[in-house]
Symmetry: C2
């Protein structure tokens, strides 16, 4: 395709995207397709003759759009905010258009150095100490795995350079709370520690945070049994109920054993932009690594997962490769981001952050986050003030964890009721919410924070919740009769 | 940013990109900036007041463009072709504009199912057996790590679910040739096997391929010593000289020990599109996994790394997570790509492949690959026909491995000469090439295959090579006098 052909098609596509974002509220939030339905619309064999761009846009509309769960829809309250702010989309388009290659500093000095600058801007906005140096990973899952690999190597005396983890004589152990994200378990298993050496410690029943004493005791027990504490994951804003582990106290407990502390603030890290929220993160500067996804609440389009370390040397030692074909005269004077993570080739992701910060400005972002906190507070207040409705956990940020508990319903029957009214809403396409479990029982998470979600949308959701729960109760009654 | 603001800025950006791609030949190939120069142009603190889009484009021009090594430039012959075809760029822009979230089938059924279809189209175009099922990873580094993790778990009886790799009683061993890519070593070390359990076996001095007998012997030796062969990486198109391991024979040798065979065809896999090149990959259908990067020669913009497995169940068993908040009614009937790799959140990468195949068509892609093969052949012929110039390895695809060997120069002096004339060219900005080593001596790789590189560009390069080598020889003479 020539640049001129690209120019024409590109203008069509920009208009299509702008129109799409304008009409998003008219689309169902949850994709209404059945399993296999999208695939059945795709030809079984690859295209043979080239398609006109207009025809391809028609295909996009016909095949793809109905199969998209609209996380940019203002009535999306599921999982977590996954904003793709249009300012950051422009940065992503610039990245695509430039078509750069990031395999070494030499392959694109700007890719490396703009990433250094943008990560430092984000550090400053978050009020983190200037000891942190950052990079951008694809996701917090990858960041957590990277942290676990660094922790494993530090604790094992860099066993990768001799017998590997399989030659370690003392079992290495990792600690997290029972509220930690599934990616934490995955990272620990992939890093080779083994499930037997992962302690998912009981969180406090009221706050769902991991008490430092619990951690300290577990570590002492392991040491007494001949095992070695290698890493601690502090969950700062759990996925379930947005609980905050006391990271400062965990850092102190871990220090006694030289264990690596990874602060997983994937979703909630965005709250660091608000000074009034920073007490939740007290002591984070003592951790060894932090992950935080601007691609969630802040809205720098996926994949933009910040990963900060205080000691890049350890990371580079674990991850470094320096093959002959990548060597250049500047080696040693520059950052080689390939040594800060798993992939060799990297995209120019920093443009997304730069464009969003430059075009929207930090003030607008902070205002929006505060709006979302107030909207979540409003909804939590309605829940608390309404009979038969309960907050299953105190509101800490923008995720309201609630349950409708009609008199006489409990146990499995209550679970069934919860799943039933949730399914009614999700199936309707009018709003979308996620289920979760606490103490083995289901509840519903209302994650407020889509860029276009206003108070009116939250109020509309509250009506939907009440109607769906009532209909479900009536349906259950009818069924009982 | 509103959709209307995005529309206006988006049109400006499309024009900027089209203009940029049009004038790319007027820019130096290698970025001419010094370490730290780009960073020094970035403000030390984050933007405070929003910028107009036109002003941001000026910044992009002033700060970023001089810091880009132009891998889309027709005189780029470095590393490997890293084409970002404009047809695939449109797919990437569509991905950004849609702003989808891929954490489960439910979060975007189209993301999952178009990926299934696009990976299958590529499989068909490559002539691979229909036993393969594919997904898209960011890079071949990540794909190789994923393969090593699957291999480790299969060989250890899924130790991740109990004591981990650290509890394995027999050391697990991995095999590859001494020509394997640095990412192979990195993957093996990160997976925890340890360098002592990685056998980088001597390749054949003529073909640089790993003889199957060498592998079989090494495995037998390890078994005799109480160790367990866990994985073999077959390099199909090495980075240095594009050597091809005999994958069929390696598969046979590995089968005797139940070792996982990963076929690393990151760069050369694109040649599967040409039936005349398929004999190089003979037996690949017997491997356990394949990685192949359309983001290299084919030009589906980074990050598009295909990863195929024949047994997705094993992969899912190793990688699976199924937290409550991601569960939906369709689980069990659909593919959950989060269980095929490391990250939870995934971009809608399949759009890049779809757009490129639909807009350019496979015929045009195949024609271009054949053009590049012919151009490389032409250059290799010039080298062979010219006194003092040598091919250090037979040409297998599109990378010409050469050295200028003036009479009387050898050893370190020859190395110095090679590095000197290479640096002259790279510094000039007129063309860009990469160094590499073979048997401890430097040579220069000319990787032909940028989308816009014609025979004229290759002819111009050949003149540049001769001039630079002669100047270097003269410089050395003067220095000697």
């Amino acid at each position: 395709m020539t640049p001129e052909e690209f120019r024409r098609a590109g203008h069509e596509l920009i208009d299509w995207i702008a129109d799409y974002r304008e009409r998003i509220e008219s689309l169902p939030v949850r994709a209404q397709v059945a399993p296999g339905e999208v695939n059945s619309l795709m030809p079984d064999t690859p295209p043979e003759t080239p398609l006109e761009f207009a025809a391809l846009l028609d295909e996009l509309e016909r095949v793809v759009v109905p199969g998209v769960t609209q996380v940019q829809h203002p009535m999306h309250f599921g999982w977590f905010p996954s904003n793709a702010s249009l300012s950051s989309v422009l940065g992503d388009i610039a990245c695509a258009g430039l078509g750069t290659l990031g395999i070494s500093w030499e392959s694109c000095p700007a890719l490396t150095e703009v990433e250094e600058a943008a990560c430092d801007w984000m550090r400053q906005l978050a009020g983190l100490s200037d000891e942190w140096q950052g990079t951008i990973h694809d996701t917090a899952s990858t960041a957590c795995l990277t942290a676990m690999l660094a922790a494993r190597e530090r604790a094992s005396g860099y066993s990768e350079f001799d017998g590997g983890l399989q030659a370690c004589d003392r079992p290495l152990v990792v600690y997290a709370s029972d509220q930690a994200h599934s990616s934490v378990v995955k990272a620990v298993l992939l890093a080779g520690f083994g499930y037997d050496n992962l302690r998912l410690l009981p969180s406090d029943p009221a706050t769902r945070a991991l008490p430092a004493e619990t951690l300290a005791r577990a570590m002492a027990d392991d040491v007494a049994a001949g095992r070695q504490p290698a890493a601690v994951i502090a969950s700062l804003g759990t996925t379930g109920v947005t609980a905050f582990d006391p990271v400062g106290a965990l850092v102190e407990a871990a220090a006694a054993h030289g264990a690596w502390v990874h602060a997983d603030a994937a979703m909630a890290g965005s709250a660091l932009l608000l000074t009034e929220c920073r007490p939740l993160f007290d002591g984070i500067d003592g951790a060894d690594s932090i992950s935080w996804n601007p691609h969630k609440w802040i809205g720098t389009i996926l994949d933009t997962s910040l990963f900060y370390v205080r000691d890049p040397q350890t990371l580079a030692r674990v991850m470094s490769t320096n093959p002959a074909y990548l060597q250049s005269a500047e080696d040693g004077q520059v950052t080689q981001y390939r040594d800060w993570g798993i992939p060799l080739g990297r995209r120019f992701r920093a443009l997304k952050l730069w464009f969003q910060l430059a075009l929207d400005g930090p003030d607008a972002i902070r205002d929006r986050l505060r709006r979302d906190l107030a909207n979540a507070r409003w909804l939590a207040d309605q829940v608390e003030a309404t009979p038969d409705w309960t907050l299953v956990s105190p509101l800490t940020l923008q995720t309201v964890c609630l349950r409708h508990e009609p008199p006489g319903l409990e146990g499995d029957a209550l679970d069934q009721h919860t799943k039933d009214w949730l399914a009614r809403i999700n199936r309707s396409g009018e709003a979308f919410l996620s289920p979760a479990q606490l103490d083995g029982r289901w509840f519903v998470r209302v994650s407020v924070g889509v860029e276009s979600t206003t108070r009116e949308h939250v109020a509309r959701l509250w009506k939907l919740l009440q109607n769906a729960a009532n209909e479900s109760s009536l349906g259950a009654d009818r069924h009982a009769n």
